[in-house]
């Protein structure tokens, strides 16, 4: 059984096609793993029956000879994606027992490709967080523990449940969403691969919105190949999302092994942070060395406005969120406060009870920066800084084809360590957030362990719509790093 759950998505696919295993067997193995791993709190909703039904239908298709690209492969869905008939919470109390009467485009694409749904994964409330600790359903736990320690670590966030589920082999892959690093940061902290595609590549339709101009769905898997496969079947041109791009989705698995020979890889000097652990810097240099060894040219580049990305993000994202979250008012769905004597009272108490502390902070910040008299000083200025950040990247592209940076400023940290200091929590996204502001694709690849035995990742940033190059570079790093460590299975019930 554990044999099956340790398969990569690509290998499982090949075995299913060769009829060496059935989807039902595979799915049962993952359901069992999921049910034994409740200590990790990776799932907020398990959909065992649905998974087994879907697997059975997949087996029939496989036997009929009309298997689809992801036929019978069990995956998990971040609870930010609306799933028809299955409770969707966004990690919040305010969505209550919301059961969407529709399916998000991305998850529908996966089902249309034959994938099997295991359940909905835990996450920071409304995707606001970098540790999964803001979830109304309690934190998800990182399967990794420091050497000789029983302390629970965060899996990163906001796609923490997905990261934990993939890292603990509770699914072949999972969907995540990334607004400021919410796929890549937890991927790095959990020792897995995470891809944030170009803004507009994956439809946002049916994904609970956090910050509309930054949100982007992507895959979280154990290998780069698996991420490429999954992304090919998550992305689509969608008439229902005005910001989805009208550009055909390539098969990202093709050309994955093309290597980096002749590619120019930029090293942005502004990503060298003062006070960052020396391991991060060493790993980064190691990564550059690996790529040079495989024939890439390493060039120094400058992204001068990097420093301003996080503050700009903490204006733009809360501003958009304050508006996106106005719909949670206890009228049409979700939590409604009891005993409200009038409408304003109903709004104020439903929202006060329904939202957690971090969401409230961001909604208030967002409301403030958009309010009369402050709009230009904050929001307009932040959007101008965003233009400058995008321009930085465009200049860099004159000198290189992709960028290599650390994924996070450090490894997974203990639950509770940073939760009382918002700004220090925000700094976890320092290497990832620029990419969202500029709408670029990026991949986080696990490359090694800290001295303490915790995973660290490197990030490869690609040009707009050039996920393929980012994936290819990521694959080259993966090959060189040969990261085969797994977390000890301490959570098995």
């Amino acid at each position: 059984m554990s044999e099956l759950t340790h398969l990569t998505l690509a290998d499982a696919r090949d075995m299913l096609r060769a009829k060496k295993v059935s989807s039902s067997e595979l799915t049962r193995a993952f359901v069992a793993a999921m049910e034994r791993a409740r200590m990790l709190n990776a799932f907020v909703t398990e959909t065992r029956d649905r998974a087994l039904e879907m697997a059975k239908a997949s087996d029939e298709r496989i036997w009929r000879g009309d298997a689809r690209p992801l036929e019978g492969l069990p995956v998990a869905i971040k609870d930010l994606f609306c799933t028809k008939g299955v409770r969707t919470t966004a990690g919040s109390r305010i969505l209550g027992n919301f059961i969407p009467p529709y399916e998000s485009t991305v998850s529908q694409n996966l089902w249309d490709a034959g994938a099997v749904m295991l359940g909905k994964t835990n996450m920071d409330e409304f995707a606001m967080g970098s540790s999964n600790e803001t979830s109304y359903f309690k934190p998800a736990i990182n399967p990794w523990r420091a050497r000789d320690s029983n302390e629970n670590l965060v899996p990163g966030g906001s796609s923490g449940g997905s990261a934990a589920a993939v890292a603990a082999s509770l699914c072949l892959g999972a969907t995540g969403t990334d607004t400021g690093g919410s796929i890549r940061q937890p991927a790095a902290l959990s020792g897995i691969v995470g891809v944030k595609p170009t803004y507009g590549r994956c439809s946002r339709w049916g994904i609970v919105a956090f910050a509309s101009s930054l949100d982007q769905a992507g895959p979280m898997t154990r290998t780069v190949r698996d991420a490429a496969i999954m992304l090919s079947h998550m992305a689509s041109v969608d008439e229902k999302d005005s910001t989805s791009v009208d550009m055909p989705v390539p098969d990202y698995e093709d050309g994955l092994e093309g290597g980096v020979s002749g590619l120019r890889i930029g090293i942005p000097k502004e990503y060298r942070l003062q006070g960052a652990p020396p391991e991060i810097d060493a790993l980064w240099q190691q990564g550059a060395y690996w790529l040079r060894a495989q024939g890439a040219e390493i060039v120094d580049v400058s992204l001068p406005h990097t420093k301003y990305a996080l503050p700009a993000y903490y204006i733009v994202a809360p501003a958009e969120a304050s508006s996106n979250l106005a719909r949670y008012d206890g009228v049409r769905y979700g939590h409604r406060a009891e005993g409200s004597h009038d409408l304003v009272d109903l709004y104020e108490h439903s929202r006060s009870q329904g939202f957690g502390a971090e969401v409230k902070r961001r909604v208030l910040i967002g409301t403030y920066v958009l309010s009369a008299g402050y709009y230009d000083a904050y929001y307009t200025r932040a959007q101008k800084v965003r233009t400058l950040i995008k321009r930085d990247f465009e200049r860099a592209w004159e000198k290189c084809d992709a960028l290599l940076t650390p994924a996070t400023p450090g490894p997974a940290f203990p639950v509770g360590r940073k939760s009382n200091d918002p700004v220090s929590m925000y700094l976890n996204d320092v290497f990832t957030v620029t990419v969202n502001l500029a709408g670029l694709p990026a991949i986080s690849v696990p490359v090694g362990l800290t001295e303490n035995g915790l995973p660290l990742g490197l990030q490869v940033i690609g040009k707009t719509f050039d996920e393929a190059t980012a994936l290819r570079v990521g694959r080259s790093i993966e090959l060189a790093a040969n990261f085969t460590d797994r977390p000890r299975s301490w959570w098995m019930a």
Partner: protein, 491 residues
Amino acid sequence: MSERASKYIRGATGDWEIVVGMEVHAQVLSNAKLFSGAATVFGAEPNSQVSFVDAGMPGMLPVINRKCVEQAIRTGLGLKAKINRRSVFDRKNYFYPDLPAGYQISQYKQPIVGEGEVTIDLRGGETRRVGIERLHLEQDAGKSLHDQHPDYSYVDLNRAGVALMEIVTKPDMRGSEEAAAFLRKLRSIVRYLGTCDGNMDEGSMRADVNVSVRRPGEPLGTRCEIKNVNSMRFIVQAVEYEARRQVDILESGGTIRQETRLFDSRAGETRSMRSKEEAHDYRYFPDPDLLPLELDEAWIEDIASSLPELPDEKKTRFMEIGLSAYDAAVLVGEKETADYFEAMVTEGAEPKAAANWLNNEVFGRLNKAGLSVVTSPVSPSQNAAILQLLSDNVISGKIAKDLLDIVWSEGGDPRAHVDAKGMRQVTDTSMIERAVDAVIAANPDKAERVKTKPKLAGWLVGQVMKETGGKANPQAVNDVLRTRLGITHEG
């Protein structure tokens, strides 16, 4: 009320000028809503025309309806306005149960249509220009029913997301008559364009009226905005009431507070809307779910080339074919009326005669019957035929009216009625005289009796009709007969 009385208001200390500007919300004629695929039909069951987008469900996204954009451009062109090649959709944030997403998608800083103008028609054929400030596209809100339950309001989102054009004027109108004339003209233009049905009863057109008063020649005074005035009559009442209220305040030493007021049509007065009084801070910002709207030159040209002839152009053309300014303005007010008139002219009616005929005979009858030119039982070609008979002297003016009544109730070819009912005007009286003489000669006893009992003349008339094959005008026969028999009065 004279033109002057409507523009000015007499106070205890002299005259005050009434200044009016307007924001009109015109519902775009489209099958589907501005950003969703739900229907826009009026009067459907609660929440039956609501998509998940309109209900503000999590993760739902807007995609703009091309037709609504086209309608806004068409309207802009009809208002002789600047079409902005690039416009931006913003979110206007506020909480209200009618507003499911917690924000209205509207256009704030960069509307799709910029400055334009409307020429309004005043009594006596006078015209006046009213400047258009802008036109922007936005979503309508849903509807709350407050009077169904003592403790609850009921929310129906059928209207939520329906496309509206908000058309904002400059403060160019003076007095209630001009305000009403503006709205009438605007309604006429959008109906010609087919961009709004102008149905005020169903809320397809709602006006927010800004009213202020000032001493003639002084700068603008502080204005009050009167919300949702939904008929021409109410506009006149609301402006008059509000101007009087402001003058009374000013003349008793007070100052006008800029505020939003509600017109209570039952009481005929405006009241302060306290709910709108709390400080609003809409936190506008560009909607990140949408991209800026960039318009192709070719598309705009295409729409421009398909514009129909508009009321002003039509009016000019009607005046060129002989109508007075007043008649022309009346006829072009409704496109259907103008079309009806033109169809009569095409059928050969003389324009001036056709206009008079419509104004004096047809419209009155239609009004009385609660009908319009579209549902008129008499067609333009039937009317044209009647006028033709009249101008050919086949029938008299009086007969023409009778004939209209006959065609109205019986239908059919007016010429056939004239023939069948012997309505033809016979000018050859000698023929009638010969026939009368012959009948008298053949029936001397009867003729004698008729002299003393004129009521019996009918039998002789009948004989004459028989003699003339029914072609004589019975009235003329009667007249000749009486003359011949020397009857001067009814017996």
